[in-house]
Amino acid sequence: MGDIEVLYVDPEATAGTSPLRELVADPAIEVYRETSVADAAATLRERVVDCVVTEYDLPDGTGVELVATLREVAPDTGAILVTDESPALIAEESPGGPVAEFVPKSVPEVGARVVQLVKHTATSRSQTSYPLPPDERARLDALATINLNDELLGRAVQRVTELATEHFAVPQSSVNIITERTQEFLASAGGEFEPTPREDSACTYTILDDGVSVIEDIAADPRFPDVTDDTAIRFYAGASLTTREGHPVGTLCVYDDEPRVFGEADRAYLSLLAAEVMDWLEVARAPQTVNDGESGQEGAP
């Protein structure tokens, strides 16, 4: 089975037509097929694929409508429109359409071009609306080595979030893990948080650089268009949680419900707490020599 999963949507494609032929023939690519907007959308709600390749003209709508749905259910998944419909017609029928790759179906090398773009889009995830750290793949590999369900880890980082809210006199704090597509909350003080798409997370940008990132007023930041003056969280400060190999796997964050400043001493203390969290995450990476709860013993940090 190929590592790259592609949803191919074209009611008229046969095994011998490009670009389906080339996609199926490539051993790195696993192709799933649908023939309508409704069926493809249903599949996308059930299955995470790396890329959608779609014809424009579909029996119950258009490929552009499908891409718009894709952006709602899986915003980071790549989309490639492959069609012979005229650009003018597409623009007329689908004004202001979403960002998607395009390959004219009539070009002689359409199969090779689509395979080329599918592979790059899938492996580099080049249709996200945010930048990725240059070491994204190694970062995710490092994250996979951490036992995030470790009870000691959970209790320790929970205490750190409580210390953070108290020290900075803020209503909320959390330790966040940045997965391939989402932000997950390992611990939080001052409220429970639901996982969020990575494009909605300030931590997505924090892990691009070492150290502390501060957004004094999120409502004034163009990266977060959905945040308004009425949004509960207005201030953000986050420190990267970086492994000993240098891969950022998450953040320690504090939030306030109104804009505020964050001085050098604040940054230094947040970094100190982040280092404490990271030490615990490193412990949770180590081989678990004593972790049997029934024995009454627990692994030391």
């Binding site: 003018a88 960002v99 790059h120 080049s126 249709q127 940008y205 990266r223």
Partner: protein, 232 residues
């Protein structure tokens, strides 16, 4: 230029990137509107005469013909056999707008722009060009017509396409129009940068690399036939 892992490196007129850049490189050129940054970016998109390179320009803040006029006054000018323009301006001026792109509503119509870019790219490749220098003038106009998230996704996709196909991307942004946050986000999608500034009558630039940081400021070579140009 010597051949690297991905083929022959892209070369540029002196004094820009003396060692050239690898195929599949994206360069952000940033500077205030009157700094000469646009002209520097146009020079980076000029094909080398002895290479089989095409040139694809996207005009967002001026009409396609206007951008070609500017390009013709920079360096070696424009070779009409090698160049294609996607007019994304949305300017309702029949004398300056290229008809094939009149379905593009304006610089924020990202899907229509991508369709036009991809179609013209394949046309240039079908004409026999081995690779293409793609220039966007300017990112700022797109940011004025669409939100940062939409523009980021578009730039990420376009830079990714350029990496995949081994071409060259040049992205001009007027740093006086866009906030630091927006410039920084766009910069993350590019492997190299050129900052341009004006000191009295002299234009200075410094090149940067995402891994190694920025170099030192140095003057743009007066022999490079730089000519400041202002919108009329």
């Amino acid at each position: 230029m010597t051949a690297g892992e991905h083929g022959v490196r892209f070369g540029f007129p002196a004094p820009l990137f003396p060692d050239g850049v690898e195929p599949g490189t994206n360069i952000l050129v940033k500077g205030p509107g009157d700094s000469g940054a646009r002209e520097v970016a146009l020079r980076l998109t000029q094909p080398e005469r002895y290479r089989n390179e095409g040139r694809l320009l996207l005009s967002t803040d001026v009409s396609g013909r206007h951008l070609l006029d500017w390009a013709s006054e920079v360096g070696d000018g424009v070779d009409p056999e090698r160049v294609g323009v996607v007019d994304c301006s949305g300017i309702a001026d029949e004398d300056h707008r290229f008809d094939p792109h009149d379905h593009i509503e304006g610089p924020g119509d990202v899907m229509a722009i991508e369709i036009a870019v991809a179609t013209l790219y394949e046309t240039l490749r079908a004409k026999g060009f081995d690779r293409v220098r793609i220039g966007l003038f300017s990112v700022s106009a797109m940011l004025a017509h669409a939100d940062l998230r939409t523009v980021s996704r578009f730039i990420h996709m376009l830079t990714g396409r350029i990496i995949a196909t081994g071409d060259l991307g040049v992205f001009y942004i007027d740093s006086s129009l866009d906030g630091d946050v927006s410039v920084e986000v766009i910069e993350h999608f590019c492997e190299r940068t050129v900052e341009v500034r004006r000191r009295d009558d002299d234009v200075e630039l410094r090149e940067g690399d995402v891994r190694d940081g920025s170099g030192n400021w140095r003057p743009l070579d007066p022999q490079a036939a730089y000519r400041p140009h202002h919108r009329s």
